[in-house]
Symmetry: C2
Amino acid sequence: MSDGPTITTIAQRAGVSIASVSRVLNGLPTKADTERRVMSAARELGYVPNSAARSLKSRRSNQLGFAMADIGNPVYLAMIREIQPLFKAAGYRLVLHSTNVDEADEIDVLRGLGERYIDGLIMVPLRVTAEHLNMFAAARAPIVIIGSVPEGTPVDNVRTDSRKGVRLAVGHLHALGRRRIGFVNGPVDTVPGAARSAAYAEALPALGLPYDPSLVEVGDFYRTDGARAVARLLEREPDLDALLCANDLIALGALDVLRRAGRRVPQDVAVAGMDDTDLATIAWPALTSVSMGSAERGRAAAELLLDRLDNGRRAPRVVTVEPRLVVRASTTGEETP
Amino acid sequence: MSDGPTITTIAQRAGVSIASVSRVLNGLPTKADTERRVMSAARELGYVPNSAARSLKSRRSNQLGFAMADIGNPVYLAMIREIQPLFKAAGYRLVLHSTNVDEADEIDVLRGLGERYIDGLIMVPLRVTAEHLNMFAAARAPIVIIGSVPEGTPVDNVRTDSRKGVRLAVGHLHALGRRRIGFVNGPVDTVPGAARSAAYAEALPALGLPYDPSLVEVGDFYRTDGARAVARLLEREPDLDALLCANDLIALGALDVLRRAGRRVPQDVAVAGMDDTDLATIAWPALTSVSMGSAERGRAAAELLLDRLDNGRRAPRVVTVEPRLVVRASTTGEETP
DNA sequence: CGGGTTTCTGTAAACGTTTACTGGATGAGG
DNA sequence: CCTCATCCAGTAAACGTTTACAGAAACCCG
């Protein structure tokens, strides 16, 4: 665990200058003899270049960041699964930031860009505040935001159409003859919470159904919160015949509660989730869910970032991923294998 | 996106030397006046220290690594969930390496330690080869290995008792009156595959049951492979009344196949998984599973690493996490809420 | 007010690379 | 054989910090 060899060590052993060592190691033209001596000295010493020194000089860290609220959430996991291999293939390491639903933490990550320990960042912010926008504008490294940002924000952006996603789900439930369609949301002051709430409120009238606020219940984006919210909703509105849940975790909670209450899914109550995570096919009955294209969003974000890294002066780009309804047993009662 | 301010910029603006700037920023004693001027200059300029320069000088990167085969696997996810907050609380960033079941990749990660971009590493190796051992010995930064390593290996080590875990599960199934207990394993040339295979083979005789190789089937540690393996096993041994699966994903595959074959779980076939991941409570029926303490292992590994970082000369330590059987509906038919 | 402490600040070196510049050696062409 | 171009290799500076050292300033006390 002693100090490792540096190019100076190599230079001494090979009897050349450190410049020659550097040149050989970087594949610049050198006399065959010098090259041979340097290479074998390097091999014998087990030389590995020091990344801090390299970064300091080259002004690149060969690291990229991904920041999200909570690694436990399968949505982010789906993104990471796409992002990691792309980063790796492009020669970048992945630095992970889980901000734990803490806004100050998010800002810290953005400020951290100034330390230049990463060459770029993909972030999925919970909210986009004025402070976020300031940091985006001042950032000294490229940023890709997953989630909507105001027009003109100087970052690449990947978004989905929540409105359409909710419309797909509600339309599906309606087409199945359901008329009392409950909605279980997460906190409405988050980006997805707000979008999904608004979308639900406008999807019903579009189908000729009244918007009934007592069919809406809010918890958090987790299974147990979802279960509690559904329990409240069921008590208040015992005649509901369908539930749209703002994510799959909430939908799992719904399944738990409905099962315990003796309601059959989907015969008595049809249940649909959102995000179409891996959990959807593990649940029983398998969960109908609106895919918000998490994997695609991850991939698109990584591609945008990598592209910008070798073309810094491009105009910011917006990629929109289309939601897609994945129908499974929890609404139709037929198993899709 | 232009070049950021450095301590030199600050020094000029504040009319002091760079040494004073550095001292103020590091909280070393300074005259109140100098301090005020430096701080306000730093604030006005939006100064953020350059991490490469800092690392180069201080020989620490403030980054720690976690390397595993596949981020998609919920076992590793459970570990990350524990590791990340501990690292963060100790002031370290997390660099993630998913080696994609590629051994050369694992070795690369170990070699990367020489670049000193991380101050330490937690690794969950697939196999521990001679080359691994060489790298461990030569490593210039502390390593914690999750999974067994030979006695005397100079790394901290967190392990579980697979033998006992399998014994718990088999014992449970036996106590429920099951006598034809199949075993669905992953590749036996991996660390967990080998351990679990050996453990199964010795658990049965200990209970007075014969070890019947035709009750064993091998696939991979994934759901679809598991399903295929179970299908083969069922065809060959239609009278089996219990299945032990070497991880939860395989067990999920087993549930799929059994359901499709019209076998009731647990009445006809009791199913137990291993690892007790989140999936176990999402599955239906909820999965009895042997917890190998993934979360604890993650936590223990992080603690060992952090401890070693401020006490480098300590003898290598081994922490063993006890497996624990978590009984759920897939073996007893009673739901645990 | 002088000597000795104490406290603060500046100069300069160092961390391990990369790279512009310069000079020496070699080879080609006249 | 001289000139000039070409090719390599070495010297030194630079990247942005931290820190040992030395000097300056301030203070205390007799």
